[in-house]
Each structure stands twice: as C-alpha cells, then as structure tokens.
C-alpha cells in the first residue's frame, strides 16, 4: 500500500482504513490469546488453529459473529477492534469443540457459545472494573460451563439445533505426546505444528513473555516431578502446565515490571496455579465440569489482591498498563532515570530567582538527627556576599524581605507569626522556628518554611495554595543569626517533627559558566540554585495544541510525514502519524517526551532525541542530562535482542544524552549528543506558525527535517 503525501511524494505506509479494521477485528481475538495486540501474533495463532482447517473456519465464523454481537449490543467500536470479546468467543468455541467433540449442530454451538461469551464478557468486565481487577478469561470459562451445564438438560437427540451433548473432562486433545502439545493446549488442540506456531506467536509478541511462559512450564514440570512422580502424564498435567504458563506471563510481564524479582514472583504464582489445578480438578469433576483456565484466573486475582497489602511498591514494582512487557520495562527504567525515585511529588524551590544553599542535609549547624533533611537558603550579591554594605542592618541582607513561595499544591495547615526578627548575629533559641508556615500536601506530607518576617505571612490555616503561591517574606526570626529561609519536608504537622528525604523538580544550578538543569535533584550545600523561569515565547513555540496538524518534511525531499496532535484521557499529548506515534507531556516548566512507537521509516523517530525534553527557561545557555530508552531508537531486529538484555542488565536499556541550549535572535537552539547520535534543533520563536528545523546525525548520516504546522506550510507554499 502507498499513502500519498501532501506534496506529491509517495510514501510506503501501513494498510489504512477498512482493510485494517477488518484485519483487526479478525486477528486481534487470536492475538489476545497470548495477551497481545499484535496482528502478526494474531495471524500466527490463527495459523496454529488452522492446522486443523475445519477449526479455522469455525473459529473465524465465531470471531466474526462476536464482532457483530458486540456491535449490536452497543458495546462500542473500540471493543470490537480490541477483540477482547472476540477472544472469549474464540476460546469458548475451541473449548466446546475440544471437550465435546461429538457435539450437535455446529451452527448452534457457534451461535450459543459466542452470544453467551460476549454477554458474560461485558458483564464480568463491569463487575471486575469496580474492584479494579481484571476478569481475564473468566467469561470464557463461565460461558463454556454454562453451555455444558445447560446441554445436560437437553435431549440427546435435540434435533439440528442442540449445541452440545457429550463432554469429556480430559479430552484426547490434551493428552501429551510431545512437549509442544503444552503450548498448543492454550488453544485446546494438540500437535507439533500448532505448538510451534503458538510459541512463535508468543515470541513475536514479546521475548520477555516467551521467557516467562517457559518459566511457567518449567515450574509446572518441576512440581509434577515432585508431587506426582509415579503417575503417567495426563491431560490434567497439560492443563496445569498451560495454566502455569499463562499465570507466569501475566504476573511477571503485565502486572509487574519485568525484573528478576517479578520473575521469581511469576514462578511462585505459576506453582500456585498448578496446585489450584490439582485442587479444583476432583472438585469440579463431581459437577462434571472441566477446569479450563480457571486456575490461572484464580491465581492472578489472588496475587493482585494480596499485592495490595504491600507497604512499599518494590521488588517487584507494579507496572503501568503497556502493550507488552518490553514497553513496561522500558517505561519504568526511563521513568526512574528521568524523573527520579522520589517523583511522587515534585516540589518546586520555595522562592524566585537565584539563592545560595548555605546549609544542606546533615549540615554542620542545625541539620542533624531527626532534622537532618533540612535546607537553608540565603541570597547573595553579585560579588557573592550575603549582604550589601556592612551587614549591620537586616535590610542589607540580599534575601531579607524576598518572597517565600509554596513548594507544591496543598492546604495551609499551621501558621506561627508575631515573633520579632533578630538583629544580625543574634539568635532566638526559645522560639526555634520563628515565624513559620506548614503546608499539608497530602496525608502525612508537610513542608515547612521557617524564620519568616513577622507579619509577612499572607496565608492562614485552611487556605488552598498552588505551587508558587506567596506565603510570606524571608526574615530572621527564631534560631537564625542572619536572614535565611529554612525548608524541610516532614510527615507530622507539628513544628519540629522529624524530617524526611525529598527532591526538587526543575532546579537550575548556577555553577560554572553554563547553568545546569536538574530535573529532579537535591540542591547541594555551597551551590547557587534557582527554579526554572518560564519563558512564554519558548512555551508558545513548542505548544502542541490538540488538533494541530504537524508536518515533518525531510529537506532533501525524500519523505514527508503528516502527524496530528491528539490528547488522551490522562492529558498526554500524542503526535500520531500513519507511521508511528510519540507521547509528550507539557507542563509549566517544559515539554517532556514520554513514549515512542515509531517504525524505522518514520520521521517521528528523530523527534525522540531532539525533543526528549525542552525546558521553557529564560537562561541564555543551559545544560542538562537525559537518559532515554534505547529501545525507541533501535531497528526492529536489534530491538528483539535488546529486550532480553534489558531484563538482566537494566543499564543497557538507557541511552545517555547530554543537551545544551543556547539562544540567538528569535530562536532557541538545542544540541543533543549521545553515543552514536547527535542532533541540533532550531526552535523558531516567531509565532505560532513558525517552523522549526531539526538536524539529526546518526551513523554518520545527517537528516535535515523541517517541522511546522501543516496548514501554515501548505499556504506558504501556495503563496
């Protein structure tokens, strides 16, 4: 397929429109069997089913019918295209065919199985969403059981329309002949070819997932060898094995970030699911019900609900929703590297302009013991002195009377006022904190601003403050010999509560020739720091207004890519083109790239390096470090290798980039240098329709890309 570019350049593109929709509707349900959205994985699973050609026809009919039913029930187009209900119908049909091979009418089977599984799918989803838990294959298990239980009341000769009559609890399909029957049993079929194809589908979807499936299978085998050494392999063991595989894949790769600790948890959960299988089998046999994938669902729900009782989200760490484990891992690693471990609440520096850190954590004067996590800030003159003139008057001191600002959003919890300022050099040890304000940012999280000027505090308890709201003025009250601001974070509300560690977001450290931006850092004693001073013109130039069409055009005329800015429910901005999409977050102090899914032929890929982060700061020059996910930039095949490497050596997944920004008339230039990449972005500040230039050098090849609003560029050309 080719998509015609706006300027007459023909581009290779993905299958658009109707064709793609049909493929998604038909293939996604197959992909969902291995927890994937990937159409290639879906095609492989379909191929596995098609090893029995009759099955392919029947399941395709079931999947198509599920789509129609989903649509008729008004469950939405997204549900149709994601294929979750389709997957339920597919599994139900497969199970019915496997467990009741001599059933009645095929048409009735597909019809009843599909409608029941779609209905139950929607119903379970609503119910489990309230508990914030996944329903997974529960609708399929229930639908299969329902049809089975109902069919017992039906006449054995129920005519052409009796769906199922005779069931075997351990069908022949699940009797193992070779190891490859275990993966094939995910589809309730057997044979070498389906087994290989399912494994391939797993591998295409995710290398980590493939590895985890192995962990599950090995755990199941080991347990069998330990618990049932004298018994021959039966269909029960096969069921235990595939349940263990599914459990390990989901626990280790979906709900937790793939790391050694989550691998261990996955193995444990897989073992648990094996026990559940052995436990359920005799119980359900009394009801003549097959176990199906129930042990997997029970185990995952047990692990997830138990994990909620953990006091700290560590070892393993919960993962944000992602298409595949590789994405979850990459996102997690990059989040830690780029935003810090303590990024739960990014505090801003509690003042404007440049201040000097006169006492850091574990300082030599007062930041000791329970109060070790405190910071003292004071102002300095251009010559580096704390005061002008002789320093005998409080007003000689640079910071005296300067505004003190709220470090984050919250509510004023406590205000102490009315304590006189000390004369320079004198200390009031009776009222240690002097005039102070305490702001509550959440339960058991407070910031303290101490030694303020008397009568300067402008807030009262109960006032809602936003980051940067003025609280009062820097003074010299309490245990303060010269005017300064004491800041600390504490769990308790009372002044004097023990302190806890914290970090500030977006700190400009003014050390040396060029200031450095620390995106999450603790200011060190003896340094000059300031918050980011927002530059509106840069913010406007980099604005990604939802709905805007952006054109990326390579200068030597080979490629043009049209992308559109979209915003999702969480407020993340996506720049999406037919070739890929990149996620950005814009906030007061800058623009940050969050994620990238772009093919090797997409120009969006070059934005990863160039726009990884753009601080909206006013400084003439600025430097910062970033660490991107190497995965974003690798070609498809090297990515496969990288995925597995990253699990064992997380360091490898990061790509360290050093950036420097400088300005000239009407433009901001950002240069970034990584190991084998470098880029220079010229961001034009002349209005919303200006176009920006991007020069990327990779493996000795330079790409020159113009980025501008699509409409503006088109009209310019017309003019």
């Amino acid at each position: 397929m080719v998509v015609k570019g706006t300027h007459g350049v023909r581009l290779p593109g993905r299958v658009p429109g109707v064709g793609r929709a049909v493929l998604e509707i038909l293939l996604r349900p197959y992909a969902q069997v291995v927890f994937s959205r990937d159409l290639a994985a879906g095609a492989l699973v379909l191929a596995a089913v098609a090893c029995m050609p009759k099955l392919a026809g029947i399941t395709l009919a079931a999947v198509a019918m599920a789509a129609v039913v989903t649509w008729l029930l008004g469950l939405g187009r997204a549900a149709v295209r994601e294929g979750i209900y389709g997957c339920m119908a597919l599994l139900t049909t497969l199970a019915l065919l496997a467990f009741a091979p001599n059933g009645g009418s095929l048409a009735a089977l597909v019809l009843v199985g599909t409608v029941t599984s779609v209905l139950l799918g929607a119903s379970f989803q609503t119910f489990f969403a309230r508990l914030s838990l996944p329903a997974y294959v529960l609708p399929f298990v229930s639908a299969a059981w329902l049809v089975h239980l109902a069919s017992r009341s039906l006449s054995p000769r129920g005519g052409a329309f009796s769906p199922v009559v005779e069931w075997s609890l351990l069908p022949a399909a699940l009797t193992r002949h070779s190891w490859l029957d275990v993966p094939a049993s995910l589809l309730f079929v057997h044979g070498v070819a389906p087994g290989v194809l399912v494994l391939l589908a797993l591998l295409v979807h995710s290398r980590i997932g493939f590895f985890l499936a192995g962990v599950g299978a090995v755990t199941a085998s080991a347990l069998r060898a330990w618990l049932r050494p004298d018994l021959a392999w039966s269909a029960l063991d096969t069921m235990a094995s595939f349940n263990a595989m599914l459990t390990a894949m989901v626990v280790g790769g979906v709900w937790f970030v793939p790391q050694p600790s989550s691998m261990a948890l996955a193995a444990g959960a897989a073992g648990f699911s094996v026990l559940v299988t052995y436990a359920l089998m005799p119980m359900l046999a009394m009801l003549s019900l097959p176990v199906l994938s129930l042990p997997f669902v029970i185990t995952v729900l047990a692990v997830l609900t138990a994990a909620r009782m953990r006091q700290q989200d560590r070892w393993p760490r919960s993962a944000a929703p992602a298409d595949r484990p590789e994405d979850a891992l990459a996102r997690h690693l990059s989040r830690v590297r780029r935003f810090g471990e303590l990024a739960w609440l990014p505090f801003r520096l509690p003042f404007r302009g440049e201040w000097y850190v006169s006492q850091g954590w574990d300082g030599e004067h007062t930041h000791k013991g329970p109060w070790r996590h405190g910071l003292d800030f004071e102002g300095r003159t251009a010559e580096g002195k704390a005061h002008r003139g002789e320093g005998r008057d409080l007003r000689d001191y640079v910071c005296y009377g300067l505004p003190v600002l709220a470090a984050g959003a919250g509510t004023v919890a406590l205000v102490v006022d009315g304590i006189e300022d000390n004369r320079p050099g004198e200390v009031n040890t009776r009222q240690n904190w002097g005039n102070a304000a305490v702001i509550a940012h959440g339960p058991w999280l407070h910031t303290v601003y101490a030694h303020l000027q008397p009568k300067s505090i402008r807030v009262k308890p109960g006032d809602v403050v936003t980051p940067g709201t003025e609280i009062g003025r820097c003074g010299n009250s309490g245990r303060s010999a010269v005017p300064h601001l004491h800041f600390q974070v504490q769990r308790g509300l009372a002044l004097g509560s023990p302190t806890i560690p914290f970090e500030f977001g977006d700190v400009v450290e003014c050390q040396g020739e060029v200031p450095t931006l620390g995106t999450h850092m603790l200011p060190r004693q003896g340094t000059f720091v300031r918050p980011v001073h927002r530059d509106d013109s840069v913010a406007q130039a980099a604005a990604l207004t939802p709905g805007t069409k952006i054109e990326l055009r390579e200068r030597n005329g080979t490629r043009v890519e049209l992308a559109k800015v979209e915003m999702d429910l969480l407020g993340t901005r996506w720049l999406s083109s037919p070739h890929g999409r990149v996620a950005f977050e814009t906030y007061d102090n800058g623009l940050v790239l969050l994620d990238c899914h772009a093919g090797p032929d997409s120009l969006l890929r070059f934005l990863v390096l160039a726009w990884a982060r753009l601080p909206f700061d006013q400084s003439a020059q600025l430097r910062w470090q970033d660490s991107l996910s190497r995965r974003w930039l690798l070609p498809r095949w090297s990515r496969l290798l990288a995925d597995v490497l990253t699990v064992v050596a997380p360091v490898w997944g990061g790509l360290d980039v050093s950036y420097s920004l400088r300005r000239r008339e009407g433009a901001v230039e950002v240069e970034g240098h990584a190991a084998d990449w470098s880029c220079r972005t010229v961001l034009s500040l002349s209005g919303p329709h200006a176009s920006h230039m991007l020069f990327v050098e990779h493996h000795g090849k330079t790409h020159e890309i113009e980025i501008g609003q699509a409409d503006a560029m088109a009209s310019e050309e017309a003019a």
């Binding site: 003159t381 013109s537 300005r663 009407g666 500040l685 209005g687």
Partner: protein, 445 residues
C-alpha cells in the same frame, strides 16, 4: 627689548595619598580587557578603537535579571536599541533573553532583519509613520502609542489590516523627584492619559494591554522609580475599574544611571550610582503598594546605558602635548567628540594603557577635530604622556556607536573581546570608499 614676563609653572609634588578632602585616587593604568592586552588590539585593529567586553555585557544584564528574578514572577528586559544597536551587542542581549526595544522604523526593521520575532519587539518613540505601524502590526510587535494623532493613525492602520492589535500607551508624569519629561506620551496628572485610554477602549479598534512610562534618563534616585511604579499601578487599576480593560504589562522604561559621572555631578559615578538591587527594590515596593494585593502584572524595563556603558572602552593614541595659556597641560589624542559625543555629558574616566611614571598634573584631553568644542576630558590629574602612548576612555558603551558622526574622518573599528580572550571586529572601520559610496554627481556639473 624687554622680555615679557611669563609666570613660572609650579607643580606641587605630592605622594599619592591623602589631602584634606580624603584620599586621592591614584590613576591606575588599564592595560588589558578580559585578559587581552590593549596594545595587541590596537596593533591589530588600529587607533582609535572601540572595544566591547562580552563578559561585562553578560555580567551586567545577568545581575539585573537576577535582581528582578528574585522579586517578580513575570518580567522582561527590552534591549534599548538606540543605546547601542551594533548587531553583535544586540545578539548578546537577545541571547540573555532580552526583547528588542526600538524607537524608529529603521530600528524596527533592523531588529526584524536580525531575526527577532515580532512579539519580542517593543516599539516606542514619538514618530511612527503609517508604514512603520503597518509593519509593526503585521509582525505583532508591541506598539506603545505616544500621542493622539498617532492613536488615530494606529486605528486607521489596524482597520485597514482588518485586525485589532493590542497596544499600550506611553504615560508621562510630573509628580516625581526628577525633571519632568512630559514630551513623551500622554500626561498622567492632567488627565490626558486616561482620556487616551478611554478612547482606545471605547472605540474597540485597538486593545489596551500595557502602560509604558519613561521617567527620564540617568536618574540616580531609586525612589523616583518607586513613585513612578506606584502611580502607574494606580493608573492601571483605575483603567481596570473604570474601563474594564485588563492591564497585563507595566513598562517602566529605562533611565537607570550608569557608572559614568555627569559634568554637574560631585561624587564620581562609581560611588554615587545606585546598584540594580536598589532600583529593583524601589520598583517592587512601589508596585506592591499600588497593587494592594491585586495580581502582579508583568514588569518590563528598558534599561540601556546602565547595562552597556561599562562594557565599552575607547582606546586612543596620543598625538601630541602642549601647554595652554593657563599652564594646563593639554594632550591631543586621535579620538574626539565626533566618535565620543557622550564627552559632552560625562566626565569620562580616562586611564593610561601602560605604566607611566611622572608627576600627575591637571591635564585636558583634546580630540583631533578642528573645533573648540572637541574636548574629550576637561580637567583630570594625569601623569605626563608621550606621543604614541595609549589612553583608555572608559564607560563609553552607550550611545557613542549610535550617535557618532562622520565628521572629517572615518569611523574606526569596533571590536569585541570574548570571555575566553578571543577578539574580532564587530563593525569595520569606514574608508573613503564608504563615504563616496553614498554620494552622487548630478549630470549638469
């Protein structure tokens, strides 16, 4: 014939030290700029020679931005082009985040040609033509209206373009402890300013967003800024309450004193000039008093000479010595008021560029012009100079390279020295060809 009596020249020898008025500042030579030897520069680029220190430019503007940044959430500096619009100097200021403040069509076009975005330009000045305003509105320049006729013209131009641009008005004040500058803008106390505001808001053809007040130049009294800021803020609140137009920007113009010394000034500028922090503190307290808890508007300052004066020096070469009738020593140097018009305002600090031995005595520095007014420095205690010695005239960064004239000689090279000691020409010396290039001969001659 009897020889005419000539009184002897008596020079009192004294050690550098103290007299009854305090310490006598010894004249220290200034032999280098940011580590680059002045002699090296003169050999490379000729004499006279303007030298700008990039380091000093950046230090000064960073100091002012630092002071503003500690107090104001939202502020901007507008680089006053008329003070020095050499492209390299402007670039330094733009790199440091300054907007461009222009006062004429030519300056506006110069800023745009340099690549400055329209929104980053402030257009002041009392004489804007229809063409200037058209260009300004098209490029979304922030225009400050100076008088009623200009207001009418701006409305016509905007209507012709089919847009409603946001503008500001220039406001002059009398009730300040400085000489009244009422020729720029609408007068506040007599009600002209509010009339102009009413007209803009009620006609709806322009939007009123900012107020601009330039209270004067070389104002050594920070309290004048406090009072100006207070009056402007109150005026902004009057506009908001009476007309419902929200004033988002208050521009207090320029006028901060540099480290130069005016002819009429007693104390030397290095000691008398207030620091940036004193000016900024005064403005902050004026704004706070006027706002009385209301949301702080964006503050704009257009400080010119206080940022650039210190960064420029003029190096000149001694051409000769003579004794005047009153026995003063006179030194003729190759730089005159043609390239140093600020000598008419300031007692410039003059330093030798090399160690000089000898007794300091009252000395006058004359330029090379054939005119009586060509006095570079009237009276300064200076040791004897020889032909070929270099002198450095300090604090000449403001106005000279824009107001200099081409009178009986070509304008010299201007160079910039980088913090790392690199140096390069930022404006080439003129030649005879430069002069002849513009001239034309009518056919009948």
């Amino acid at each position: 014939m009897k020889a005419k009596y000539e009184p002897p020249l008596i020079v009192r020898h004294s050690l550098a030290g103290v007299n009854k008025l305090g310490s006598i500042p010894a004249i220290r030579p200034m032999s280098s700029i940011d580590g680059v030897r002045i002699e090296e520069l003169v050999v490379a680029y000729g004499s006279p020679l303007f030298v700008f220190s990039e380091n000093t430019l950046r230090e000064r503007v960073r100091e002012l931005r630092g002071e503003l940044g500690r107090r104001f959430a939202s502020f901007d500096l507008g680089w006053s082009y008329k003070t020095n619009y050499l492209s390299a100097v402007c670039r330094v200021f733009h790199q440091e985040g300054s907007l461009a403040e222009v006062v004429s069509g030519m300056e506006l076009r110069k800023a745009l040609a340099a690549g400055v975005a329209g929104q980053q330009i402030i257009f002041n000045g009392p004489a804007k033509t229809a063409a200037d305003l058209t260009l300004a509105f098209e490029k979304r320049v922030q225009v400050h209206i100076d008088h009623l006729d200009e207001l009418a013209l701006a409305e016509t131009v905007a209507e012709g373009l089919g847009i409603v641009p946001e503008v500001g008005i220039r406001v002059s004040q009398s009730d300040l402890p400085v000489p009244t500058w009422d020729r720029f803008g609408f007068h506040l106390e007599s009600g002209r300013a509010i009339e102009a505001a009413r007209r803009i808001v009620r006609s709806g053809r322009l939007g009123l967003r900012s107020l601009h007040g330039h209270i004067g130049t070389f104002i050594p009294n920070p309290d004048a800024y406090r009072m100006a800021a207070l009056a402007m803020t109150r005026f902004a609140r009057q506009i908001e309450s009476e007309l419902g137009a929200r004033i988002t920007t208050i521009d207090l113009g320029g006028g901060f004193a540099s480290h130069n010394t005016l002819h009429a000034q007693y104390l030397p500028g290095e000691e008398a000039t207030p620091s940036f922090s004193e000016y900024v503190e005064a403005i902050a307290s004026g704004l706070e008093e006027g706002l009385d808890g209301a949301e702080t508007p964006r503050l704009v300052l257009e400080t010119g000479r206080a940022l650039v004066d210190d960064a420029g020096v003029l190096v000149a070469t001694v051409l000769g010595n003579k004794r005047l009738a009153d026995k003063r020593r006179a030194v003729i140097v190759d730089a005159g008021v043609n390239i140093l018009p600020t000598a008419w305002w300031y007692r410039h600090d003059v330093r030798p560029a090399q160690e000089i031995l000898g007794t300091a005595e009252p000395t006058v520095f004359f330029g090379p012009l054939c005119m009586a007014i060509d006095v570079v420095r009237d009276r300064v205690m200076f040791p004897p100079l020889r032909v070929g010695d270099r002198v450095v005239i300090r604090h000449v960064g403001a106005y000279n390279v824009t107001q200099w004239m081409q009178f009986i000689s070509e304008r010299p090279n201007v160079v910039m020295v980088s913090p790392k000691g690199q140096h390069a020409i930022i404006r080439k010396a003129e030649t005879l060809e430069t002069l002849l290039l513009q001239e034309q001969m009518p056919a009948w001659l």
